[in-house]
């Protein structure tokens, strides 16, 4: 398992759409490398016979009818209520193409 350097932190920040300031970024490599170092203790345990899938309560394939529940719908006004930027009932987003 490797250590995280500044370039890698900047790459992760880009992937996760974070704009971290230089001052903060300088501390992150060391702080996150400590976490990566800590979790190495998991290697002490034998996990060879453990199945690949896990869910907390073992609930599997809970099915429900595919139906529209109008009572759960937000109105257009409600859906836009917390948006910073809207126009004619739409969200305004950055151009992506």
């Amino acid at each position: 398992m490797s250590k995280l350097d500044l370039a890698e932190i900047q790459h992760l920040a880009k992937l996760s759409n974070l704009r971290i300031t230089n001052e903060e970024a300088l501390k992150y490599p060391e702080q996150l490398s400590e976490s990566i170092e800590y979790v190495k203790n998991l290697e002490e345990l034998d996990i060879s016979s453990v199945p690949d899938s896990f869910f907390t309560t073992r609930a599997i394939n809970l099915m429900e009818e595919d139906e529209v529940r109008t009572s759960d719908m937000l109105t257009q006004e409600q859906a836009l209520k917390n948006a910073q930027s809207t126009k004619n009932g739409y969200f305004i987003v950055k151009r992506i193409l």
């Binding site: 932190i9 759409n17 979790v39 529940r69």
Partner: protein
Amino acid sequence: MNLLGKSLTELLKSELHSQDVVDYFHKRIVKYNPTLHAFVSVDEQSPKIKEDRANEKLKGLPISLKDNIGALYSPTTASSKLLETYTAQYAATITHKLAKDGATLLGKTNLDAWAHGSSTETSDFGATHNPYNIDYVPGGSSGGSAAAVSAGLIPAAIGTETAGSIRLPASWSGVVGLKPTYGRVSRYGIVAMGSSWDCPGPITQTVEDAALLLSTLAGKDLHDATTIDQEVPNYVAELTKERKMTIGIAQEYFENVDPEIVTLVQQAVSLLQKSGHTVKKIKLLHPKYAISVYMLLQRSEVSSNLARYDGIRFGKNRSFFGKEAERRILLGTYALSSGYYDAYYKTAQKVRYLIRQDFENVFNEVDVIFAPTAPITATKLGDNEKFAFYGEMMDVLTEPAAAAGIPAISIPIGMHSSGLPVGGQFMARHFDETTLLQVAHQLEQLISFDRLSVMNRYE
């Protein structure tokens, strides 16, 4: 009228008019919140009880919600500046259930921003203070809820736990904190953190109140596919059955624990033994592995859950994340990225399986497990930076149960010489909150913790 130290159950049985009770606690919040900062928001005027609620189970009595739980058209900030202007456009299922059962929602309580923390110091709106000593933290992340109940600013509150966020502040603030089984209580309408861990639960003055509120909160929810369709027992009626149990004690949960806390736990164990319970030594996986599992899986889930805060639909843009949220998003993104996924995420998931299996094996021998809730008592404000992995170290004894998804409850078991309270926790089988509450109730009667003295300081 002095209602200090009256539990929710006692208030329900009293002949008092619920509006007077709401007004009483509203006045206390307004008066003492500047000292404790347990609440991030409270109505300017005491809310008027809705008439239809006064006839329901909770009779209009006041209850506070942690501010990551959505209430209709109310601010829900998760104590983050990013959501400072956000108002929920739908109610969380538990908010709806509490209202339906007659609760009057009074105020939203403080938390570590996004519930990422164990002291409530990382709140973007300022730290909450521990009512026992305002230079100390109440624990976190549900620190506002715990401090509010501890100081008698509200009879009971609702918190949320991912891995310790109900039990740790309950223990450090001298109150009862119940983390139900994962899937017992709906997560719908709550700001998501670690979706395969998160679980809301009550923070109360008594175990009886925890049982009462769990009856309201629990149950299958159409809006949360991870809730389990299993009958909700009458926890309050079951509470007083004086069952004798086999209680497991694991040495692994006493390593590096403050000696005074160890002594108080041992005293509690002998009280249980003297009243007819059997105590059995058991062996559990070392809690340090749960720290690693939590560190990887919670970060992974955080990086995914917080991706939705892109400044388009909810509140402000991503530059409003604090450092802790940024660190967690970065580490989670790393643990899930190609090339590292097997080494980190998958390995942690497999160890999580082992932790659950370990508990299940032990529950073939014992009914419940008893342990300290935290290795030390509350820390001083600002001291969190002196500890490496502060949150993980404070939550080391609460993380395994959270990883396994089993229910657990912390109750006050005595006072430390520092003048701060100490908590002990029981853990039980999946969906066996009944046993958990029964044994906690019995110990609570044996200990008779003084919850009134601290409230009297705010009078």
